[in-house]
Each structure stands twice: as structure tokens, then as C-alpha cells.
């Protein structure tokens, strides 16, 4: 029961404008990632939602109510910090009990010693302990409750931070790059755990990361920010397959999407010497985005065809470097029409892949593009959409 709305949030620090009017609606139970390069304002936005920072203008609504005057504790949110922010002088159990102590005890009973000697403090003790133990069991840290944070590994600290957030039973869960301090292996593991936690708890998760892989794998929706502006909000697949702008296309996908220059004229898109019959609403130079895994190399054996387009369009490619990634290879090179522009091709190996000798014969390759998988952008970076659907329907009818 937590629907969160951001209305035209603006924020600047001194002369530096960090957020230029962000509006975003987060549905109840959704897992939304705020993703973008460092300095794009994603953490600031999260801190504004948490109430740790006040926006210069705009509004934060939770279930339709403005939260600008509400203290962080009154927003029904929990937050996991990048470096966990555990209290180093408290044991794991005390760390996790903190939100409960604050919520259940009156001020006088929270003062030192008073918790043990006042009736209010003593009466709340069993309930607090039960709450902590329940969450600790759920996160499998119940054997660590007496340790200090300094005695824990990174992954364990991460779980304690999650536990401290969970124990207060929040409606919204805010996470600020929670995996960035873990090593690569643990990161994948905790990633799954957080996804499972989201599924089992049904809470709203707002997750800040600079890592597009985290954002893509975990979220139900991704909000991509750049220099304080929201570029696009959508499902991971929307952002990958149907980006609104060149910036979105370049941010999502690894390795990065290849951009090459071309021309649109007379119902054709011309790339180098190849003309592809696609009608765009513009005439003149355009930019063409080609995902590395959509380029097919038909004349080399040992590779799985990237697509089975019947009318592929051939393009001359010059190979410069081949990297073996295990199940697939990454070929660096350039199209013949734009030799200074590095292009990467990701090709899957088949069982007949011949190792380094596969490409021994020549550096010049013929590659095939699938017109349906090309993304077109105007000189301003805006997406240009050809009218595929009507064209296809016309064909089939």
C-alpha cells in the first residue's frame, strides 16, 4: 500500500543544478531501478524520497499525501546505504533492534540505562527481541546477533543492513548501490537474494545503481537518468529494444551499441554502399544503432547465426581484434565506410568453432544486418521509427 509519486523535483547544490524536474510514479509492489552514471542525480533523488534531502521545488507524494514536511521516520520507508551505515559500537542484534526501540519506547525509556529499569523499557523488550530474531532467521544471520559489525564479512554486513531495514516493516524499501562494496561473485548471489526478497515481501523497492546489469536483471521497471533528467522509464526490455533516444540505447546493453552514420533518402537508408529499403520521416544524415549481437557473419563457419533474416543486407567489415569470452567471441573492427569508428560484434560459438584459426584467412569480412533490428536516430539523438508494422502487414495481406 505504498504508491509513490514524484512531481517535478528540482534540486541544486550551490550553483550546481543536480535535478532538473523529475516526475515519476512508482506503483505499489514495484521494483524500480534508478540507473545512470555517477553524478546523474540518482542518489540525490533517492535521498529526497527518504527525506534526508529537501527538494528546491516539486513534491514527493506517498499514497497521495505530500511528504515534504514529514521526517524520514514518518515516511514508512527503510533505506540500505551504500556502505551499510551500521552502528559500529552496537552488536548486530542492537543494530537491528534500533528502529524497533525507537518506535516502541517513549523518549525517557530510550535514555541510557532507562531501557533496563523502566517498566516501559522492560515490557517492550520481548517484543523487540522477537522482531529481531524473526528477521534474523529470515536472512540467516541469527547466529551473528552478538557480533560487532567489524567482525563480519562484507556479505554479512550487507545482510545486517537489510535486516535493520526489514525489521521496521516498511512499505517502501530504498537501496543506494547496496552491492557496490561486494566482490563480483557475492554480488550475483546477493542480487538474487534481493530479487527473492522483493518477490516474497511484496514491498515497493526503489533501487539506485550505476550498473545497468543490476538494473536490468532485478527490476520490473528501470528509470534511466542522465545529468539530472529522466531519459526513459520502462521495463528492462523496453529500454533495451525500444529506446527513445541514442543516450538510452548507448547506456543499456553490454558491450555498448554500435553507432554508425548513414543517410536517409527516398525511402531508403544508406549505410556505406548498402541501401536498405526503409522509409523514415526525414531526409539527410542519420545515426544507426546496431546491437553487437545482431550482426551476422554468414561466411565463417563455427559461429551461430545471429539472426535468420531472409533479406539480410551485406556490409563490408574490417576485423582488427578477436576476444574469446568463452561461449562467445567479441570481434573489434570497423565498417569499411567509417574506418575510424570502432564496431564490436558479439558472435556465439557453435560446436565447430575452430579457435584462433577461425579467422586466419582474412581481415575483411562480409557481415549481414537484419533491418528489423536496426535502431535509427536523428542528428539530435531522437529515435526515428520506420513504419514497419504497416509495411509488413501490407506484405502479408
Amino acid at each position: 500500500m505504498a504508491q509513490l509519486s514524484l512531481k517535478n523535483i528540482k534540486k541544486s547544490f550551490g550553483d550546481t543544478s543536480v535535478l532538473h524536474g523529475i516526475s515519476l510514479d512508482v506503483m505499489d509492489g514495484e521494483f524500480i531501478s534508478l540507473v545512470g552514471q555517477s553524478g546523474c542525480g540518482k542518489s540525490t533523488l533517492l535521498r529526497i524520497i527518504a527525506g534526508l534531502e529537501q527538494p528546491d521545488s516539486g513534491d514527493v507524494l506517498i499514497d497521495g499525501k505530500s511528504m515534504l514536511d514529514a521526517a524520514p521516520k514518518d515516511r514508512n520507508i527503510a533505506m540500505v546505504f551504500q556502505d551499510y551505515a551500521l552502528y559500529p559500537h552496537m552488536s548486530v542484534g542492537e543494530n537491528m533492534a534500533m528502529p524497533l526501540v525507537m518506535a516502541k519506547l517513549p523518549l525517557y525509556a530510550r535514555l541510557p540505562v532507562m531501557r533496563r529499569i523502566t517498566p516501559a523499557g522492560r515490557n517492550a523488550q520481548p517484543e523487540i527481541r522477537a522482531g529481531v530474531e524473526k528477521v534474523a532467521k529470515q536472512l540467516r544471520i541469527d547466529h551473528l546477533l552478538d557480533r560487532k559489525p567489524a567482525q563480519l564479512s562484507g556479505g554479512q554486513r550487507q545482510r545486517v543492513a537489510l535486516g535493520r531495514a526489514l525489521v521496521r516493516d516498511p512499505q517502501t524499501f530504498l537501496m543506494d548501490e547496496p552491492l557496490s562494496n561486494l566482490d563480483a561473485k557475492l554480488r550475483v548471489q546477493v542480487r538474487t537474494e534481493i530479487t527473492e526478497l522483493h518477490a516474497s515481501s511484496g514491498l515497493t523497492f526503489i533501487y539506485v545503481t550505476h550498473d545497468q546489469v543490476e538494473a536490468m536483471t532485478m527490476s520490473s521497471r528501470v528509470a534511466l537518468l542522465q545529468t539530472g533528467r529522466l531519459l526513459q522509464v520502462g521495463t528492462p526490455n523496453d529500454l533495451f529494444a525500444d529506446p527513445e533516444t541514442l543516450d538510452v540505447a548507448q547506456f543499456i546493453g553490454s558491450p555498448e551499441i554500435n553507432i554508425t552514420v548513414g543517410e536517409s533518402q527516398n525511402g531508403q537508408v544508406i549505410i556505406g554502399e548498402t541501401a536498405i529499403p526503409i522509409a523514415l520521416d526525414t531526409t539527410g544524415p542519420i545515426q544507426i544503432g546496431i546491437r553487437p549481437e545482431t550482426i551476422c557473419i554468414p561466411n565463417v563457419s563455427g559461429l551461430v547465426a545471429a539472426h535468420t533474416a531472409t533479406q539480410g543486407h551485406m556490409l563490408k567489415f574490417e576485423k582488427r581484434l578477436v576476444e574469446d569470452l568463452g561461449p562467445e567471441i567479441l570481434i573489434h573492427g570497423a565498417f569499411a565506410h567509417a574506418p575510424e569508428n570502432i564496431v564490436r560484434i558479439r558472435a556465439q560459438k557453435s560446436d565447430t568453432y575452430g579457435g584462433a584459426g577461425t579467422f586466419a584467412q582474412s581481415n575483411a569480412l562480409d557481415v549481414m544486418l537484419n533491418p528489423n533490428q536496426l535502431l535509427f536516430f536523428g542528428p539530435d539523438g531522437k529515435r526515428l521509427r520506420p513504419d514497419f508494422s504497416t509495411a509488413k502487414r501490407a506484405e502479408t495481406v
Binding site: 527518504a50 527525506g51 534526508l52 521526517a71 524520514p72 521516520k73 520507508i77 527503510a78 533505506m79 546505504f81 556502505d83 551505515a85 551500521l86 552502528y87 559500529p88 559500537h89 552496537m90 534500533m98 528502529p99 525507537m102 518506535a103 523518549l107 530510550r110 535514555l111 541510557p112 560487532k148 567489524a150 567482525q151 535493520r164 521496521r168
Partner: protein
């Protein structure tokens, strides 16, 4: 065998490297302490070349001496006045300055100024301020309708006056120590606390600030205690132990015995007792700070 030769050479080098520091420590601390100890076993006086070993008679005398217990009482009473102030006032000022966004460095400098001044010279300024007849403080008290206070002439008040002067001189120093401790507390702990619901100033203080300040607080407490027991210069300049020995503190008594009454042997015994007290404080601090290494 080559290894052990190398090892021996390294050991020799290591001893050679610590030699200068060892010699300095010996010359400045250890040897004088031994001489003071040996002197404390004699009846040596500054006015006579003849002296004899008297064993532990000086120490025995110490515990029978009424002046000794008086000085000890005065010192402890003074410490009782001085320590809470030196600790709490500096902490409160440090927290207040920490929360300031503007003028922070100006305030820091202002509070630190007394530390940079010479206390002996400033003692004269204070004696003028606290003068029972013409002093600004008494005149002010009278103007607002309060009674005049005989700051240095009243047996019951003289230690309070001395404590006020010492506080003035030491608060800036302790404040800087506390500020350093406060600055080292990660900001996001306060943010985590705010989200956990600990946003009341008392909660913030007792849940985050105070525990995180532990090592700093210990250091301030120990150095302030040592400062309290070292009280000497203001006494020597302003009261000379008076009135009626009400401000005769421990170090001043050792000075009196040695350089006014020329009982060097007895004075040496007093000094060693004083050293023992300081050593205890230092020990407490060393033990405590070791246990806090983990954060």
C-alpha cells in the same frame, strides 16, 4: 649461515637506530627519575652540603604531614570542580560549533585563543578582572544587584576562582579535540539514525555521537585529569597557596618544600608520589584505548 649473518646485521642496525631515542629518553626521563628517587631517600637540603640516607623516612613523613593531606584534599577538590566543566562545557561548545555552518572557523579560533596565550601573563589579567575592589567582574555583579565576591581572599572560593581561570584556558584545547572526534563520525550514521527514528537530539547524542566519541572522550578525560593535578602557575602567581593554605595544591606544596623550605629530600618524595598519580591516569588511558582499536 648467510641468513643468520644478515639477521645479526639487521639486529645490530635496529639497535643502532633506536639508540638516539633511547639515550634521550634515558637522559630526560629515566635518569632524573632515578636521581629524584635516590634524593628522596636522603635528608638533602639546599642549604647544606651534608646529607645522609634516611631510607623511607620522607615517605613516612608524607603520610603524617598535615600539609600533605591538606594539599591532597585541595587538589582533589579542585579537580572535582575543574573536570566536569573542562569535559562537559568543551563537549557542548564543540557540538554547537559542529552544527554551525557559518563562522565555524572564526568561532574555533576565538575559543582556541586562550590556549595560545601564556597562562602566567593571562593570570595577571584575571587577577585584575577578579580584583575584589576594582575588578570588572565584581563591579558587574554589583550593577546587576548581586553581592560582590572576594575571589582570591575567601578560603571557600579561591579554588573555584582558580578552576574558572583554568577552565577558560583549557576549554579551547579540549573543544578542538572533541571537534576532531565529531568530524570523524560518518555522516551517514546520523542519516541511518534519522531513518531508524532516532532524530531527537537526545537520541542522536546517546545513540551515535557519544558512543562514537568514546576514544576521544577518554583521551580528553585523562589529559584533563593530568592538567588538573598539574595546577601550579596560577597558584604561584595569584595566591601563593593562600589564604591560609586554602589553595595550596599538591605541586605547589612540592615546590614550597623544595625551593622555599629547602627540604629537597622531602620534595623529591612528593614529586615521585605525584608521578605515580599521573602514571595511573596514563595507564588507564593506554588500557582503554587499546581495547577500542576495533573501531
Amino acid at each position: 649461515m648467510a641468513v643468520s649473518k644478515l639477521q645479526r646485521a639487521q639486529t645490530r642496525l635496529a639497535y643502532l637506530l633506536v639508540l638516539p631515542a633511547t639515550l634521550l629518553i634515558l637522559a630526560i626521563y629515566i635518569v632524573p627519575i632515578i636521581f629524584v628517587f635516590l634524593g628522596s631517600l636522603t635528608d638533602y637540603t639546599l642549604v647544606s652540603d651534608h646529607y645522609a640516607f634516611v631510607g623511607f623516612e620522607n615517605y613516612q613523613k608524607m603520610f603524617e604531614d598535615e600539609a600533605f593531606s591538606n594539599a591532597l584534599n585541595n587538589t582533589f577538590f579542585y579537580a572535582l570542580l575543574f573536570l566536569p566543566g573542562a569535559f562537559i562545557i568543551s563537549l557542548v561548545i564543540a557540538i554547537a560549533i559542529q552544527e554551525q555552518k557559518q563562522f565555524r572557523s572564526v568561532l574555533e579560533v576565538l575559543y582556541f585563543l586562550p590556549v595560545t596565550s601564556t597562562l602566567a601573563a593571562m593570570a595577571l589579567v584575571w587577577s585584575a578582572l577578579m580584583d575584589s575592589g576594582q575588578g570588572v567582574i565584581n563591579n558587574t555583579l554589583q550593577t546587576i544587584g548581586l553581592a560582590r565576591v572576594n575571589w582570591f581572599g575567601n578560603e571557600d572560593i579561591v579554588l573555584v576562582s582558580l578552576a574558572i581561570i583554568s577552565l577558560w584556558s583549557v576549554i579551547g584545547f579540549n573543544m578542538v579535540l572533541f571537534l576532531a572526534g565529531l568530524t570523524a563520525i560518518p555522516k551517514n550514521l546520523y542519516e541511518a539514525a534519522a531513518i531508524d527514528g532516532a532524530d531527537h537530539p537526545l537520541d542522536k547524542f546517546f545513540r551515535v555521537t557519544w558512543p562514537m566519541l568514546g576514544p576521544t572522550a577518554m583521551f580528553v578525560a585523562v589529559t584533563s585529569s593530568i592538567t588538573a593535578f598539574k595546577l601550579f602557575d596560577t597558584v604561584a602567581i595569584l595566591t601563593q597557596g593562600g589564604p591560609d593554605r586554602a589553595s595550596e595544591v599538591f605541586l605547589y606544596l612540592a615546590f614550597l618544600e623544595g625551593f622555599e623550605y629547602f627540604n629537597m629530600g622531602y620534595s623529591a618524595a612528593l614529586s615521585l608520589f605525584f608521578l605515580g598519580i599521573i602514571f595511573l591516569f596514563a595507564l588507564v588511558q593506554a588500557l582503554f584505548s587499546d581495547r577500542n582499536v576495533q573501531y
